[in-house]
Symmetry: C2
Subunit: 331 residues, 2 copies
Amino acid sequence: MRRPTLEAVAARAGVSRATASRVVNGQTTVAPDIRDAVLRAIDELGYVPNSAARSLVTQRTDSIALVVSEPGNRVFSEDPMFSTAIRSASVELEAVNKQVVLMLVSSPKSHARVERYIAGGHVDGVMLLSMHGADPLPSALSRLRVPVVSYGRPAVPVDIPYVDNDNVGGAEAGVRHLVESGRRRIATIAGPQDMIAGQDRLAGYRNVLRDSDRRSIVAVGDFTRESGAVAMRQLLRDDPELDAVFVANDLMAVGALQSLRQAGRRVPDDVAVVGFDDIEAAKYTEPPLTTLRHPIAEQAAAMVRLLLNLFEGGPTDPVILPTELVIRESA
Amino acid sequence: MRRPTLEAVAARAGVSRATASRVVNGQTTVAPDIRDAVLRAIDELGYVPNSAARSLVTQRTDSIALVVSEPGNRVFSEDPMFSTAIRSASVELEAVNKQVVLMLVSSPKSHARVERYIAGGHVDGVMLLSMHGADPLPSALSRLRVPVVSYGRPAVPVDIPYVDNDNVGGAEAGVRHLVESGRRRIATIAGPQDMIAGQDRLAGYRNVLRDSDRRSIVAVGDFTRESGAVAMRQLLRDDPELDAVFVANDLMAVGALQSLRQAGRRVPDDVAVVGFDDIEAAKYTEPPLTTLRHPIAEQAAAMVRLLLNLFEGGPTDPVILPTELVIRESA
DNA sequence: ATCTCTTGAGAGAGCGCTCTCTTAGTCACC
DNA sequence: GGTGACTAAGAGAGCGCTCTCTCAAGAGAT
């Protein structure tokens, strides 16, 4: 007992397969009564078009790959940024009747797998999420002549449309806030320097310090809570007198707050802390975190729009979304 | 300039399409020299099999749908449980060369979409994640005669293999820990009662209280941080004398800790708090959270195995994984 | 030397659909 | 009434692949 085919529908409705196909695809050149007969047959048989057959001839799959180059170290599971972006992209694509195929890339082996999969024509386009600098995927995919867009500016200069937030401007605003509130020794916990977000946020920090004759005090983390805690301890050793720290993401800021607490420093009295991302958890830290909000869902939605533009020939210029300083209690 | 077909490979290697196909699919009945010639042709042309054509004839897609019935209210983005399960399932499936198609269900409209998609033969099987009691999907899918497994026991009695953790036993262990440490007035913040995890964890709480002549004090949340904060405030109003609270998940526990702090209660001195899930953030709360760990990744892996068994005729009995009490500082 | 058996390779049908081409039919207009 | 324009429906090719069936060639048995 297999699934009914278009042939069966046509037979039941007493028309040709071509006409049945026209009805299924919503063409208007079918007489109303015939149309109704076909629809009735579809309903009675519970017909659903076979997608493989359809894409074989149309050369489209209506599926989009969402490739997440995850940094491996549990960031994917912990950083709500990923799920928020995935969710938003998924909802946006759903609205235009496209399906999301999620691919997580971790090992070089899965790299090859992703490439093969995409080369195999499973998907009409690719959305790339958060790759590291050395990620070979952007160039590999653009070589395959598959439509590709990126969430975040690609690290290598490759001609892929992308959406990013204003990392530099956001970091500048955060550090400026610390300067303006009279902090003298402002350290930073930077993100991984093989990621654009890590680089740009550090650049923003440096820009402001340079203009305000303070010296920079830098520790580097990898965007995980744990690395934030470690980096904070190191900063306190390097400069026990520091009175502020700009942390490149909220997850690391949570770790930093814990280290500060353990070191007996009060926040914000002794040390002011500014994070980046404004994840939900930032409202629930002790004290609640001052941080930079950027619209993750909008960014994902803009990325989807970019991809659709790529299909339909619309504008594909890079999109940069603004950040906003959210002042809570930590600074 | 389209992608090379098997025909092209065969022509270049000077063999028939059938032989080329045999090589591509790793059949052994091909002479070594011919085999090499075909492989060379594949390499030179950059041939990748067209998946639509292949599944049209094989009736397989090697894709599995991961359907997440999300509760809508941002839980998906915030609760690391989802990402952890998704990630684990994805890795496990990758190992057996299957692809994950992620489908988020929120509106009733997307319900229909998911059903159509699955009925359309896009996937070979379905994994269901976290559905509410009223979720019509389990029965709808099992009616489609598509292999389905569930992450978490389905709320309706439907014959679907599933993997769950021992919610009742875990809750009992958590509450027993509070009883044994001498707490007298033990409240609970329960999860949504249309979810099995919510029901079972509340049942575990009640089981232990019943056996220890304490009365139960219940507030209900929806597994979000915010709802945990609200529920905690309500509990403090209902019974200002309470000295412990068992919270049905860590996210709500984080909210509860904040409310306790705002109400001037010390944890664990005045009020002991036990959570459930042992998410990464539980280590970083103030104070660190005592909670019940259950192996989310293993649960997802077990679900994948169950699905593969469904394909290959292996055992498909429900799997229940144990929980473990992790004692930190909050209780 | 003939026959059977095995092995390796080709021929070709067909998976379910779309879409172009063709044809039949209707209507309008001179 | 004949011609042309247009509409609605059918015929059939073909998307790229797998897989059964068939066949040729060589090995081994009689």
